[in-house]
Amino acid sequence: MTILIMGAWFFWLLVFVYSILGAIDFGSSFWRWFFHMRGFAYAESVASTYLSPTWELINAFLIVIPVALVGLFPKAAFTYGTILALPATLLLILLSLRGAYLQFGYASQRFQTHTLFVSGLTGLLLPGMFIALLPLSQGGYISLIDGHLIFHVKMFFTSISVYLYMAFGVALSLYLSALFLARYAQQAEQWSAYYRFVSGARWIGSVSLFLGASALFYPTPHGMHLMENGLRHPTFIFLMVGSLLAFLLSYSLILSTRRDRKISNMRALWQLGLALAQVVLSQLGYAIAHAPYLLYPYLTLQSSSSNSLMFRSTLLVLLLGLVVLSPLLLWFRRLFIVDAEYVATHMKERH
């Protein structure tokens, strides 16, 4: 394996980790708003307890991605930076509003309702906007005119393929976060909240599968043919089938959950774990079908990579950084994510 391929895998890993963390983060703030509106205080407080300590961390992780892109594939950063000037602005504004309002909520009751609304709505929209980068990278909406890459905004926003991806992003984020919060509620033995989340996942799960499959099969106009590329690799088929199986298993666990029965730890973990496995497998498949293009057909991994010294240093620094931080991350996880007592006591307070 060349260093270039290693770098590409590493970058893919970062994007992948963020896509999961981000999906759970954004989805949770939507569910919090949703259950607040419907008056389900327990489900709302489960989402709140999870969101409060974690969102800053996840937002911090987001910045790893552009910085890693600049260090590993500076030409890709340059190109995306140029064509995405306006869409990136919109995304940043939504992200900023969300982050800021999550903080302002501490100040007063009145702000708190704004916070629920702003973070819930942006939490719903943002995964759709982030995922729109995928159809963009598949090409077709960008053309080279006089040596400049031009982004055809109108064509992009009138394309069915783009909206399929956006809808898929939103649905997947809601699905994953519902399962994650269900597991969180299960730890605290908050059964009424647990069933709220599971029934949310029940609704959105099949929708997300349908949208995901449609996005994959629906060809991007003038862009790359994902299925054609993918089918050349035997692993692609294997991964896609595995992903489907994982979905079916976790979804059948969700469907067979009975309302008035306690849920075992293992079962809640399997539900979430299989759903995550589904995402891992399908994203791997997608990566294989997408390689070696960073932006079809203008940027490949090879053509946009940095000089080898910088490339190596970037990889080294990022890997070492993650290793050095890992004990701290584990401590954080033990304090807030897997500590049943923390989850339970924080939910017992006034709602």
Binding site: E56, G71, Y80, L90, G99, A100, Y106, R350
Partner: protein
């Protein structure tokens, strides 16, 4: 307005906005750490109260700072894509390390705030130290990229093509030690004066209880001490920066002091308007030989003047000189104020009953933050027209994408909303949670945080 001017203004406003939050985000955790130490050492719960109230501010400001920081990070790639293409080849390591410092800060902050009731006092001190180190490191690492822009090293460059790049050499560039030192100490100084001002405002109020009196006086002494010491260090690093500039960036020093011709016994001119036609400063107060001293440690050594450089590479001289003087002036004022405070305290003369002195401290809080902004604007303006000194101009780096005007409007609206909401939420919070209301023993960070979120 041309796209270049728009892009510069937009980025300038964004940075100016972010710098306020970033400076407070560096300084407040340090004060929290000190307050936690004092609380443990003196077993005095009023320091605990100070730490808790500071934490409330920190949580809000760091959160908004993360948001504005994200904006800056993405905007760099969007507004200055050619600059970032170079950065990616040579000086990206500080950015990469910065993220880890930043993640560390967020982790420790979450542990400190949300884990408050689960961890021991020692762990809490450790967590607050972690926040403060993470915050300082992330500020320093970003500043290191700025230091590279001032004194680029480790790179060979020919017509837009990079022939040789050594990222580690670029990271340890000549202006790094002075600039980093100056930025960190000035942040500690400014934030200390901001909270000295907060204490002074509170002391100006009538009808304070005995506990409140003691609480605010105690905070005032702590912040004045931090502000004074950090101020002196800031001056030291500023002086070192002058000497660094004389060697590596003489054009910037000459621009700051309006020195047109290479001169021995060069004077330091305070104030005055630089006149480019007559090639001198009109109306300033010259102190003979002091610029030579600042630049070289000798009164008789020559200092290189602007005439040694091509005219098109001169920055805008009038504002640059005034901003430089304002920065030095504000620093000096704050240091003197702190010295006066401790002199009278040592003499056991109660200066705090004098309302004018308290008002002066309040004023110094505003001045200190203005000094930070002013210093940064000076540092960037005096490097014009370069974005990377002697390598790339700002004009070369700017994006070719259309629609900067829209971006500009969008971000101005966003920043206005954020600014109003920040001020408003701080006011609302502290109006509801006054010092006399909060029982020092109550663990109120935790409960108010969770109440705020869940109620």
């Amino acid at each position: 307005m041309s796209d270049l001017t728009l892009a510069r203004t937009l980025f300038g406003v964004t940075l100016g906005y972010h710098i306020t939050y970033a400076t407070l985000g560096v300084g407040i955790p340090f004060l929290i750490f000190l307050a936690e130490i004092m609380a443990a050492k003196k077993k005095d719960t009023s320091y605990q109260l100070f730490a808790k109230r500071l934490t409330r501010v920190a949580v809000l400001l760091v959160g908004v700072g993360i948001v504005t920081g994200t904006t800056v990070a993405v905007m760099l790639s969007v507004l200055w894509p050619k600059f970032m293409a170079v950065v990616g080849q040579i000086i990206n390591i500080p950015f990469e390390l910065e993220i880890f410092a930043f993640i560390m800060e967020s982790l420790f902050l979450a542990i400190y705030v949300y884990g408050a009731d689960k961890i021991s006092q020692r762990t809490r001190i450790f967590a607050s130290l972690g926040v403060s180190i993470g915050a300082a490191l992330s500020a320093l690492l970003v500043t290191d990229v700025n230091a590279f822009m001032n004194t680029p090293t480790g790179i060979k460059w020919d017509n837009g093509k990079i022939l040789y790049a050594n990222p580690w050499k670029a990271m340890i560039n000549p202006s790094m030690p002075e600039e980093l030192g100056h930025v960190l100490t000035s942040a500690y100084m400014a934030v200390a004066f901001v909270f000295a001002a907060v204490a002074a405002v509170s002391l100006l109020k009538k009808g304070l209880s005995e506990f409140e009196q003691r609480y605010h006086r105690q905070n005032l002494t702590l912040t004045m001490l931090v502000g004074g010491i950090a101020g002196i260090l800031t001056a030291f690093f500023g002086d070192a920066s002058g000497k660094m500039m004389a060697t590596y960036q003489p054009e910037k020093l000459a621009a700051a002091e309006g020195l047109f011709h290479t001169t021995r016994y060069a004077p330091l001119v305070i104030g005055g308007i630089v006149n480019v036609h007559q090639q001198k400063i009109i109306g300033g107060i010259p102190i003979p030989g002091f610029l030579s001293w600042l630049a070289t440690m000798h009164f008789n050594r020559p200092v290189i003047g602007l005439d040694a450089f091509a005219r098109w590479t001169w920055p805008d001289l009038i504002p640059v000189h005034l901003m430089f003087d304002a920065m030095v002036g504000i620093g000096t004022f704050c240091i003197l104020l702190s010295m006066i405070y401790f002199y009278f305290k040592w003499k056991k003369i109660n200066l705090l009953s004098a309302r004018w002195f308290l008002k002066l401290i309040v004023f110094s809080g505003f001045l200190a933050m203005a000094g930070i902004e002013d210093g940064w604007i000076f540092a960037e303006e005096a490097r014009q027209p370069w974005i990377i000194y002697n390598l790339m101009t700002v004009r070369e780096a700017v994006t070719t994408a259309p629609g900067i005007g829209w971006m500009f409007g969008g971000f101005m609206a966003l920043f206005t909303v954020l600014l109003i909401a920040t001020v408003w939420s701080l006011r609302v919070y502290f109006k509801k949670h006054t010092v006399c209301e909060s029982e020092p023993s109550e663990s109120f960070i935790h409960t108010s945080a969770t109440k705020g979120v869940k109620a």
